[in-house]
Structures are given as C-alpha cells and as structure tokens.
C-alpha cells in the first residue's frame, strides 16, 4: 500500500469494505516506522503492543457495522497530551519517566471512536520552540531534507505525517506550533478557535493561548479529527459550549464572492521572496475561483512577537512552577526542601525552558509588571481590535505561515531572538483566539515546502476547511522522499 497518498477517507473506506483489517493497517504503519523513524526521529515512544490490542477491538466494531469516523484509524499523538499508562514526556528530562494516571479529554474522545495509538510524537521541550531540536529524546528531522529542521513545537507530529509514519496526528499550538511545522513538512495543520477543544490533560504551557488540533494530509482530514475531538468539557472551564456541527459541511461549496484579505505587513522584507511569491500565487488562484482579494493592514504586527513572548512566558513561569520533583518528575538532591526543588528544576529543564521561565518572572516581577506584562495585554487588545476591523470587510485572511522554509539544523536554533522573530506570522492568531489552517501552497528552488495560513472568524473552522480544500484540490502536492 502507498501510505503517503492515503487520506483518512480512503483508509475508512478500505476498513469498512474489508479490503484491509485494522490489524493489517496498523502493521503497515509499524513496518513503515521501523524502516523510517531511525532517520526522521519523529517518535519518542512507539506503542505497538497496545496498538495491536486496540486494533482488534476496533475490528470488532467494524465487523458489527458500528464503525465511527476514526474506528481502527492509527494516529500519532504529541507527547504533551496525557495518555493513561503510556509515558508522556513533553520531550523533557523533567518528565522522562512520567506515566500519566489519566487520559486527556481528546484521548477519551478518540478512544470512544476506537482509534489506534501508534505512538507519542516528539516536540520541542514543553512545546517551547520552533525546531524540535530542544527535545531531550528525539531531535526530529524534516522528511523533505533530513539536514533541515521539521519546525516545531509539534515537529514530531508533522514529520510522522509527512513521512507516512501516521496518516494524521494531534499537535498543540500556542504560538504557531501546529501550523509552522505543518508548513515546514508540507502537510496540513489546523489550529482551532480557542475553546473549541478541551485542554484537560494537555500539559499546560500558556493556558490562555494553548489549543490542541490536528495535523493531516488534507483539510478534510483535519475536519474529520476536529469533529471527534471538539466539545465542551466540564474539566476545562475555557472549553466552549457550542452546538455540534460537521466542520466539513461546507467542503465543495463555491467560494465565489468570498472576500480574502491580505495584510501587507505579513509580506514585508523579512519574508523570503520565494515564500511571498508562492502565497501570492495562491491568492491569485483564489481570485480565479471567484474570490475577491482585499488589501488590509495590521499595524501592530511589528510588536506582536514581543507581546506574545511576554504573555506566553509569564503564563509558562506560573504553569511550570508545579514541576518541583516532589509528586512526579525528576527528583533532584539537596539538604533542604528549597535546595531539592532548585536542583530538580535545574537538572530537569533544558536551556530554552529555563530562559522562558526567567523571562516570565522578569515580566511579572515588581517594577517591570506595568512596563512589560500590562503593555503586552494592551497590545493583545489592540491586535484583537485590528482583526475585528479586518473581518468587517473580509471572510478569510491569507498570510504566509512562516517567513522562510525549513532551515538547516544548527543554523538558528541557538539564537533565541532569531527563533522568536521567526514566529511573526503565527502568534497573532493565538493572541486573538482565532482559528487558522496551514496548507502547502508551493515549493522553493530546493524543493522545500512553503505553507500559507488561512485565518478565520472565531468558531468558523468550517469556512476555513472549505477554503483550504478548494485550494488543495487544484494544487499539485509533492511527497517527501524518505
């Protein structure tokens, strides 16, 4: 079977028509993992034994004609999403041996569909980074060019989908961590509206920004997964009580007359020419389909990275204070309680996580709070206002997902400021709690994928998927060669 060209729809059909059993499908993916993951390093933990048991259970449902959308479908899960009894490390030495005693809400929902877990995908440590090179256990490589980064923080999730080691995966997105690696690895990634998916069981990084979402081979596949994982959860007070809907309901509908806005600041000098050309060519294609292109501006964009890092790091400093080595996690040494906690944290966290904790505490500390944290909150209000103004005259906003294609390993991960500035195209979406999807829209001269981001109104993932699907149908997508 050519795993690279499979969609969740094609796998569903094969399973339901008994062309393949759930166990055989599972085996196909584990065979692929065995031959490929030693090059890509996409997984931290592979769960073959567990998967074969789950595949047998899924087959029973299929045989009874009771299959749901994801019954028997193998998926990879980012390693910051808790899985009962299965190691969940956040790619950190701090949680190197952590076995969660419960499932995240999204895992409960996937299990209710009888999905099959292939394994836990690598990521930047505690989801802090854009390269997956801060992972303590698997520094993932880009399947399109193994000398390049896969992006991050959900770099493992994007890479295993790109390399056909899973047909789809779950990631999490705090400032672009689903969309940017999807762009770098040439796959599709959806960051849902904040509150669409419960964060219960997602190891918290920045609670007002984090959101779980799918990475897959198409927008429709993302919609299939979102249909399953969305919904109100009483254990996450920020999850929204929205009526059930089919996020793929608008797929195939004409986009004639749809207004697509292009904020000029996203196409500035800092964005590579090849990226600009590919995204503008996609805009032109939309125009040919009958969409109306609208010029617009987001003046606050140049301050967005700083505002994002101040808010996210402040929340991270608070959230990560729970890691003291007492109830779980790496236990350090010390003669006193304080010495033990400091030793646990100093040995358990990597350099980038420590820098974010220091920055967060700096922004929140006496004398700096008004100048940094409150100012960042003011910018957050301004960014939301500017998005609202754009959406008064547009249905969708189109931007590059990242200013560059995937860069060479070692080229910029050691420069924190350079890394932070690379998030310029994605962070405002999290700040404004909006949904966005990254879709492959071209390739540069070296054959590296270029992604474009479609940003929608709050709760309007259906229009995003409709618009992304319209482009995907006319786009000649390439697959990685590993």
């Amino acid at each position: 079977m050519d795993l690279k060209k499979q969609t969740l729809g094609s796998l569903r059909e094969m399973l339901d028509t008994k062309q393949i059993s759930a166990a055989e499908l599972c085996k196909e993916y584990f065979d692929r993992i065995k031959t490929t993951d030693s090059q890509v390093l996409g997984y931290i933990t592979v769960t073959e034994e567990e998967a074969m048991k789950n595949a047998a259970k899924a087959q029973e449902a299929i045989d009874k004609g009771e299959a749901k959308a994801l019954t028997g479908i193998p998926l990879a899960i980012k390693d910051n999403i808790c899985t009962d009894g299965i190691r969940t490390t956040c790619a950190s030495n701090m949680l190197g041996n952590f076995i969660p005693p419960y499932d995240a809400c999204v895992i409960e929902k996937l299990k209710a569909d009888d999905y099959v877990l292939l394994g836990k995908a690598s990521m930047d440590e505690f989801a802090m980074g854009g390269s997956t090179q801060t992972s303590a256990f698997a520094k993932t490589k880009n399947p399109f060019d193994l000398s390049r980064v896969p992006g991050g923080s959900s770099g493992g999730s994007a890479a295993v989908v790109s390399a056909a080691m899973a047909p789809a995966a779950l990631g999490s997105d705090t400032g672009g961590s689903i969309r940017q690696p999807s762009s770098f690895c040439g796959v599709t990634g959806l960051k849902p509206t904040y509150g669409r998916v419960s964060r219960y069981g997602l190891v918290a990084f920045a609670s007002s920004l984090d959101q779980i979402g799918p990475i897959a081979n198409s927008a429709v596949d993302c919609g299939i997964i979102l249909n399953t994982i969305c919904g109100k959860d009483s254990r996450d007070a920020t999850s929204a009580n929205k009526p059930a809907e089919d996020f793929n309901a608008k797929v195939g509908k004409d986009i004639k007359g749809m207004k697509i806005a292009l904020p000029k600041e996203f196409f500035a000098e800092s964005t590579d020419d090849e990226v600009k050309t590919a995204v503008l060519a996609a805009a032109k294609k939309y125009e040919e389909m009958g969409a109306v292109l609208v010029d617009c501006s987001m003046k606050s964009l140049k301050y967005a990275v700083a505002a994002y890092y101040l808010v996210a790091s402040a929340e991270a400093a608070s959230n990560l204070s729970r890691f003291d080595g007492i109830k779980y996690g790496l236990r350090g040494e010390g003669r006193t309680f304080d010495e033990m906690i400091r030793d646990s944290r100093s040995r358990g966290f990597g350099d980038e996580v420590k820098r974010r904790i220091l920055l967060g505490n700096y922004a929140l500390s006496s004398g700096y709070y008004d100048a940094y944290y409150l100012k960042a909150l003011a910018l957050k209000q301004q960014i939301i206002k500017e998005y609202n103004e754009i959406f008064e005259n547009a249905d969708i906003i189109l931007t590059p997902t990242a200013p560059t294609v995937a860069y060479k390993i070692g080229e910029q991960e050691t420069d924190p400021v350079k890394m932070y500035l690379a998030d310029i195209c994605t962070v405002t979406v999290n700040i404004a709690s909006l949904p966005a999807i990254s879709v492959p829209c071209g390739y540069n001269a070296d054959g590296m994928p270029i992604g474009m981001s479609l940003v929608g109104r709050k709760w309007d993932e259906a229009t995003l998927i409709q618009t992304a699907d319209a482009f995907e149908k006319s786009f000649d997508r390439r697959y990685s060669e590993v």
Binding site: N97, F98, I99, P101, Y102, Y194, G195, S208, K232, S234, R235, A237, T238, A240, N241, S300, Y303, A306, Y309, L310, S321, D324, I326, K327, Y328, G329, R331, G334, R335, T336, F337, E339, M340, R342, R345, S346, F349, K354, R355, I357, L358, L359, N361, Y362, A363, S365, Y372, K375, L377, A378, L379, Q381, Q382, I384, P416, V417, Y420, L421, S433, K458
Partner: protein, 92 residues
C-alpha cells in the same frame, strides 16, 4: 541585565546556574529583553474595564466531591514509601 537581576530571577524561578552558565544566560536574556522593549514603543494602554479575549468561562462545573484517582497510580511516578511523598526535612 546584570548578575544581581539574574540572581533575583533565579530565586523567583527556583533555578541554579554555575558562574559560567550565569554569564551566558545574562547575555541571552539581555538580547531577549531588548526585543521585549519594543512593546514600549507602541502607544496603547491596557483597558481592564473591557478585558479583551472574550474567553467564556461559562458553565463552571459544580464543586461536587468525586472519587480520586487510585493512590497507587498517583504514587507510581514518585519515590515510593508507604503511600507517601518523601521530601527532605523542612526544619532541622
């Protein structure tokens, strides 16, 4: 950013650095703070009367008592000792 500030932040953050590590992180944090300083250029004031993000905290769950996770599962991630978390003495 100076060593005194880094020491203060390490205290707040419960982190240790060697002298050499402290010098390195001081340089990195200086560059990061320089980037963060750009927010000061934008003339906008936070308005806490219309807080922004419209995150709805609706339908907060009732404060009902529910069974806990099994103790053996919770303790499986720590140093085992008679159903307790073991920590160093806080008072000599």
């Amino acid at each position: 950013m100076d060593i005194k500030t880094i020491d203060h932040l390490c205290d707040l953050s419960k982190l240790n650095y060697t002298d050499e590590g402290k010098e390195k992180v001081m340089g990195e944090m200086s560059a990061i703070i320089e980037l963060m300083d750009t927010v000061k250029e934008f003339d906008v004031v936070y308005d806490d009367t219309k807080d922004n993000n419209s995150i709805s905290y609706d339908e907060v769950r009732k404060d009902d008592a529910k069974p806990s996770f099994p103790a053996e599962k919770l303790l499986s991630n720590t140093q085992p000792s008679d159903n307790c978390y073991v920590v160093p003495k806080m008072v000599d």
